[in-house]
Symmetry: C2
DNA sequence: GTGTGTGAAGGGTTTCACAGCA
DNA sequence: TGCTGTGAAACCCTTCACACAC
């Protein structure tokens, strides 16, 4: 399969959400122009993004909202009921466990771990915090597909190594540090500090 | 000033953090090769990024870690003690108020707001949750520079409009929806659902 | 007429490769 | 010799513009 750019995939996620809104408003069809307007991009971009995966629209008419959403969901693999683990039961970890946007799209958080004895055994949402010392066994037993790292910068690489050893192929990293993994493992980083520093730069320029 | 790409700015933030580690290990100098290796990019990229802002290294030697860090800090405006407000005292909002990575870099959260009467008056870290109805006045009184939106998708645009009206020029948006603002306002979005969906896509492809 | 799908053009970012300085 | 700084080349992504289907 042709290599699809990361930006395209991210935009598909956005289209998926925009379609949600339209469907709630009982809109049956949508044009690339409308979708583009909702996401602040160009209509050519929308059509090009979709064209990588097939032809979903009708010329002169646009796209059927429900069908397009379900097709994008299919492309992104959102029908798959992913099992997710969160490593780190600090502020961010706990907020993620309770984040509704996950469960809504089939990402089920089934495991929370921490290394701190004070935290082990405490409940987070419906889950009980487990000991990271048992990481490998827990990941396997719970058949986890995706792991979220929400530990400190110091601990992040070690956790990542353990996750890789446990067979995890997809990691979402919230620690403010780049982590190293073998090429077959995909890592996405979410680093709020970096985003706010970009705002700082912008304000400083003006 | 020449337009600098967003990716360059984001990488500068990463270099800043990588330099942190090196400084902690008492390394006096670093080459673009080493920095690149730490962040999983190429050395040419590092040198190119820095070259937009000046010449910071010594040929044959590399860069002085402390000096380079402070120069990057200067570029990003990290010395400025930004005053930050968080709108939305849900799970994410509360986690952000307590996020240490912010205060460490001079981003001081001085205001938390929510619309829910149950939440108004409750404390989050050192702050008391205020009523969003007073948003404009509070933003002005606290001299806020940067606002973080951590409310639901439904409420996000309305909050954004109020923030713009209150004179805010930089917004970090955690709501899973694109928000519209006038061109002079910079918005950065952090959307964990989008990142995890990219992982879902990756796992689905294999 | 309307709006999609797409090859081609355009613009921007990354990588290459090397001159030049410590 | 070692490593930076930087034009030029390569690459990738976005935008244009129009044929074509409804």
């Amino acid at each position: 399969m042709k290599k699809i750019s990361d930006s395209t995939i991210r935009r598909l996620s956005r289209y998926y959400r925009s379609l949600d809104q339209l469907i709630k408003k009982n809109m049956e069809t949508v044009s690339s122009d409308q979708l583009a307007e909702m996401d602040g991009i160009t209509s050519a971009q929308v059509r090009k993004d979709l064209s990588f995966f097939g032809t979903f629209g009708k010329r002169g008419l646009g796209y059927n909202t429900k069908r397009l959403q379900s097709q994008i969901g299919e492309i992104l693999g959102l029908h798959k009921n992913w099992r997710v683990a969160v490593v780190g039961a600090g502020n961010i970890g706990r907020a993620l466990v309770k984040y509704e946007e996950f469960s809504k799209q089939g990402f089920q958080i089934c495991l929370v771990m921490d290394a701190d004895p004070e935290k082990i055994g405490t409940s987070v949402g419906d889950l009980i915090t487990r000991d990271t010392r048992n990481l490998k066994a827990l990941i396997k037993r719970e058949k986890i597909n995706i792991a979220i790292i929400a530990v400190t910068a110091n601990a992040a690489q070690k956790v990542a190594d353990q996750l890789v050893e446990a067979g995890i192929k997809a990691i979402l990293n919230f620690a403010p540090i780049s982590i190293k993994t073998p090429p077959e493992v995909r890592v996405k980083s979410e680093n709020t500090a970096i985003e706010i520093e970009a705002l700082s730069y912008f304000l400083t320029q003006k």
